[in-house]
C-alpha cells in the first residue's frame, strides 16, 4: 500500500513507453493513436461545436456592445454637429442682417445710428423694443427707428444708455402714411390684437387696393417721407362713411427684429428708392 503510488507511476510510464514504441515502430495494433482517436474525435467535434457556438454568442455580444457604444458616440457627435450647424446658421443670418443694415445705412442720405435690441415687450397694452442706444449716443425722443425692410417705430423714451421704441403695431401708435400708388393720405394705427390698420379718407380716384404699398407721408415732421410701412392685405369698404379702413401687413417683422437703425438726421427727400425688398434668407 505504501508503494502503491510508485507502482502506479511505473505502470503509467511503462504504458506510455509501450505506446510510444508501438507508435514509432508500428505493431499489431497499428498506430495506437488511431484507435484512441476513433473515440476521441467525436468528442472533439462536439466540444469544438460548443466552443464555436459559445464564442459566436460572445462575439455577437461584443459586436452588439461595440455597436451600442459606437451608436451612442455617433449620436453625441450628431448632436454636437447639429448645435454647431445651428450656430453657424445663426451667425450667417446675423451676418446677413447686419450687412443689409449696413448697406441701407450707406445708401440713406441722412445720418443714422445702429442699435441692438436688448429687450422686447410684447403685451396687448404695449408693444415695444429697447435698444442699446440712449441719451449718451445723441438719441432724442421721437427718433424714427427702421429696419432694412422699412419702418419699425419711433423712440418714445430715452434713457442714458438705452431707448424704448414704440412699434408700429402698438395700440397707441399712429403714423402719418400714404398709399404709394395713389398718394392717398391716411394714418397707420396699431391695434390691440397686434395688427396694423390704415385709416384713410377715400376720394374719387383715390383709395387702396390689396397689395398696395403704404409708406410714410412725411406729414407731421416725425418720420421722413417714403419709409415703407406695410402692404394692404384687406380693404374694408364702409360705403359712404367718411373714413375707410384697410388691414396692413407690416414690412418689419416685429417679433424677430434684432438690430435697428435710428434716424438721427433729417431729410426732405423721399427715402423709398433706397429700400429694396429682398427676402431675408442666407445666400440671398
Amino acid at each position: 500500500m505504501r508503494h502503491r503510488k510508485y507502482a502506479v507511476l511505473v505502470s503509467v510510464l511503462l504504458v506510455s513507453l509501450l505506446l510510444l514504441s508501438l507508435g514509432t515502430r508500428g505493431g499489431r495494433l497499428g498506430r495506437p493513436g488511431e484507435l484512441l482517436a476513433f473515440f476521441i474525435t467525436p468528442l472533439q467535434a462536439t466540444l469544438s461545436k460548443i466552443q464555436s457556438s459559445a464564442l459566436g454568442t460572445w462575439s455577437a455580444y461584443l459586436d452588439w456592445k461595440n455597436a451600442r457604444r459606437e451608436n451612442q458616440a455617433l449620436r453625441e457627435e450628431l448632436e454636437r454637429l447639429r448645435i454647431q450647424s445651428l450656430q453657424v446658421e445663426d451667425t450667417e443670418r446675423e451676418n446677413l442682417r447686419l450687412r443689409r443694415l449696413l448697406a441701407l445705412r450707406d445708401r440713406l442720405p441722412l445720418s443714422t445710428l445702429a442699435g441692438e435690441v436688448i429687450a422686447k415687450v410684447w403685451g396687448g397694452w404695449v408693444r415695444s423694443v429697447t435698444v442699446n442706444r440712449g441719451r449718451s449716443d445723441g438719441i432724442a425722443r421721437l427718433t424714427p427707428a427702421i429696419v432694412p425692410e422699412g419702418l419699425l417705430g419711433r423712440v418714445v423714451e430715452v434713457r442714458a444708455r438705452a431707448a424704448v421704441i414704440q412699434l408700429l403695431n402698438d395700440p397707441s401708435s399712429a403714423v402719418a402714411v400714404m398709399v404709394q400708388r395713389t398718394r392717398t393720405a391716411g394714418v397707420a394705427e396699431g391695434e390691440p390684437g397686434g395688427a396694423v390698420r390704415l385709416k384713410f379718407m377715400a376720394r374719387d380716384g383715390g383709395g387702396a387696393q390689396v397689395g398696395d404699398l403704404i409708406v410714410t407721408s412725411g406729414l407731421g415732421g416725425v418720420f421722413p417721407k417714403g419709409l415703407p410701412v406695410g402692404r394692404v392685405i384687406a380693404v374694408e369698404d364702409k360705403g359712404s362713411a367718411l373714413f375707410h379702413y384697410a388691414r396692413l401687413h407690416p414690412v418689419a417683422d416685429f417679433a424677430r427684429v434684432e438690430e435697428v437703425l435710428l434716424l438721427t438726421g433729417t431729410t426732405g427727400a423721399d427715402l423709398l428708392p433706397h429700400f429694396s425688398f429682398e427676402p431675408l434668407e442666407p445666400g440671398a
Partner: protein, 164 residues
C-alpha cells in the same frame, strides 16, 4: 467524485485543442492539461496526479497528432512530482502553487524535449526553451493563478465563508 474527475480530465484534455488556441497570446498558448494535472497532483496526491497526467497527456497526444505516449509520460511524471510536493510541503497558498506550476511546466518541457530527442526531434534546445517552454511556463503560471483564485472563491462560497 470519480465521475466529475473523469469529466474534468476529459474536458481538460480536449480543451487543449479548442479553448487554448482561443487564449493564445501571440504564438504562446497555455498548456491547460498540464495546469490541471499539476493542480490536481498538488491537491490530491501523486497517484491522482500521475493518472491525471497520463490521461490528459494521452488525449493531447492523440488530439495533436504527435508521438502517442510522449506527453502521457511527461505529464504523468509532472503530476506525480506535483503530488509528492503536495505531500511534503504546504501547498495551499497560491504563492506556492503558482511558482510550482511554472517550475513544473519548465521541467515537463525539459523532459519532453529529452524524450523527443530520443525520437530524433529536430528543433534546437535553446529555441524550444526560449520560444516555447519558457513563455508557456509563464503563461501557465498566470492562468494557474487565476484558476487557483477561482477555485478558492468557489470553495469559500460553497463553505459559506465568503459571505460571513
Amino acid at each position: 467524485m470519480r465521475v466529475s474527475l473523469a469529466l474534468m480530465l476529459l474536458g481538460g484534455g480536449l480543451a487543449h485543442t479548442s479553448v487554448a488556441p482561443a487564449l493564445r497570446l501571440g504564438a504562446v498558448a497555455p498548456d491547460i492539461p498540464l495546469i490541471l494535472t499539476v493542480l490536481l497532483g498538488l491537491r490530491r496526491g501523486p497517484e491522482v496526479g500521475c493518472l491525471s497526467g497520463f490521461v490528459v497527456g494521452l488525449l493531447q497526444d492523440v488530439a495533436g497528432g504527435g508521438f502517442v505516449g510522449a506527453q502521457a509520460l511527461t505529464k504523468a511524471l509532472a503530476g506525480f512530482v506535483a503530488g509528492l510536493i503536495g505531500e511534503r510541503l504546504l501547498v495551499g497558498n497560491p504563492l506556492v502553487q503558482v511558482p510550482g506550476l511554472v517550475l513544473l511546466t519548465l521541467a515537463e518541457g525539459l523532459g519532453r524535449y529529452w524524450l523527443l530527442q530520443l525520437l530524433h526531434f529536430p528543433a534546437a534546445f535553446g529555441e524550444v526553451m526560449l520560444h516555447v517552454v519558457l513563455p508557456q511556463a509563464l503563461y501557465n503560471g498566470f492562468l494557474g493563478a487565476a484558476g487557483v483564485l477561482a477555485v478558492s472563491v468557489l470553495e469559500a462560497y460553497r463553505s459559506g465563508s465568503l459571505w460571513r
